[in-house]
């Protein structure tokens, strides 16, 4: 005999696995994070109630604030670079260019690499003795520009950030290119009849038409950079030299695992969470803006 699923229960049963899994891991970890932030806890033994002391420790910890500063700077710098370079190259590619698809395929390749691979590869490119970058500068006679790209605290963070930019450029080119190619041609034709020049066309047609692509690209790179910085920094510099590349997530992780202070680590997680949440919220609003819930 065929067991007939009740029509009423059917949609709920279908959602149930997703809801359970999401609750057990994501929601539980969220609650767990907030809860343990009020305790002194080494991650293993007994928990001791501390109230808001962990937040006090976090807020008064200058290394933490420095790491938050680096995180925010990282996110904004990387976002600006990715979008300016990505949009710029997409505009060039939108012209009648031979080899466009070759270019697209090649620049997209690093998108598929893990940050570990990309980070290792670039830490060797930056290597002072056998690195490609200094060898290149030496080769073109620009010896004055040679430096310890990852050992100089003044530039290490920039070196790390450029690796993130390198990895994602292809991704943004593809998104911008699709948006540019989606602009109706007759807009330009009409503008040409009205006697508008190239520059005016760009500012008055191309850019406004790319508005939503711009917003989504910026938000994607912002939320991405807020978290991806852990992998790159961990692999390339581990926060050094002299904490010049320390970001919030590397500091939180070493607080938890090296200093066994899970309570304080989670208090810092909660603080970081609010920074990231603002941008994540905007991104979801943007992605679901023209969606009807039905």
């Amino acid at each position: 005999m065929k067991i007939k699923m009740s029509d009423k229960a059917f949609p709920y049963l279908m959602c149930l696995p997703a809801i359970i899994l999401f609750t057990v891991v994501i929601l539980a970890s969220f609650i767990q994070g907030i809860w343990t932030s009020f305790f002194s806890w080494d991650g293993m033994g007994d928990m001791k109630w501390l109230g808001v002391k962990n937040y006090y420790f976090a807020i008064t910890d200058s290394i933490f604030w420095n790491s938050i500063k680096n995180t925010v700077f990282y996110a904004f710098f990387v976002t600006v670079m990715k979008n300016i370079i990505g949009l710029g190259l997409a505009l060039l590619l939108a012209k009648d260019i031979a080899g466009r698809s070759l270019f697209r395929v090649a620049t997209y390749m690093p998108v598929t690499f893990s940050y570990v691979v990309v980070g290792l590869l670039w830490s060797w490119i930056y290597n002072p003795t056998f690195g490609l970058l200094n060898a290149f500068l030496n080769g073109i006679g620009a010896n004055w520009a040679i430096r310890g790209w990852l050992s100089d605290p003044g530039i290490a963070l920039y070196s790390v950030m450029m690796v993130d930019v390198w990895k994602w450029i292809g991704f943004h080119i593809v998104l911008y290119l699709a948006a540019i190619q989606g602009i109706p041609k007759d807009l330009y034709e009409a503008a040409e009849i009205d006697g508008a020049n190239k520059r005016r066309c760009f500012w008055h047609i191309t850019l406004p038409q790319l508005n939503s692509a711009l917003v989504i690209n910026v938000l994607l790179s912002l939320t991405g950079a807020f978290t991806s910085n852990y992998d790159v920094v961990k692999v390339m510099t581990n926060g050094g030299p002299f904490r010049s590349t320390e970001v919030a997530l590397t500091y939180i992780t070493s607080t938890a695992f090296k200093f066994s202070a899970f309570g304080k680590a989670n208090a810092m997680t909660v603080i970081l969470f609010f920074f990231v949440f603002i941008f994540g919220f905007l991104q979801v609003r943007m992605m679901t803006k023209d969606e009807n819930y039905g």
Partner: protein, 278 residues
Amino acid sequence: MNIKSSKNISKIIIYIILLVVLIITVYPVIWMILGSLKSTSEFYINIWGIPSEPQWENYANAWNMAGIGQKYINSVFVLLLFLVITIPVNNCAAYVLARLDFKGKKAIYTYLLTGLMIPGAVLAIPIFTVVLRLGLVNSLWGLVLVYAAQAISFGTFILRAFYISLPKSLEEAAKIDGCGQFGSFVRVIMPLTIPGITTQIIFNGLTVWNEYFIASLVIRTPEKQTLPIGLSMFINQYGVNYPDMFAALVCVTLPMIIIYLLGQKTFIKGLSAGAVKG
């Protein structure tokens, strides 16, 4: 005449810019492969060029010393188990959220979407705590559980868009053919969303394949390491030769590069889907 030649010059400039960008993207990868074939002494002298005599044994060294075979098995296991869980779970939820009417639908959808606002890595330490409480530290199953949970929000979101785009009359036709609700979903509707499922496999699959942060917290012993952690551990070991390190890196990336080049259209489409919605 004048306009034409200035047009040509600007074209040349464009090509030069694109060529430079192309070299900056591709040459590091080629350099990695060249470096993996050099001898230790040549490595420091011949930085740019082609190895004078390819040292294939670098690969054997790297493969054995880093235990890359085991790490591949672990990574493939995690990826497959992840897909086996994530595809049905997300499809079932996305389907009913897209095509059926029921009480609390909006609330469920909104609840599942909140995950999009919380990038997984931010919660890494609390997630580790949950894994610890579940007794799943140093278990690949625990890792998969986390990955599957993290994939729900995006997966449901993308797949729902696919299910919505299908014509309304499908369920009725299936009903006439005598299919039950679940039967019509599995036999008639799901096969039509293969492009959506492919998108999901590429996007989430790649994320899982490359994941480092949470894996590095959850996995505690070398024999359970996935490729990203295994690789970073191997490189940080004391006294490993650079050419061997390069060879290890190539062992991990080359298969990926080949798969990407074979399916580049699907890859680019699948990975961009998050932004342009399906």
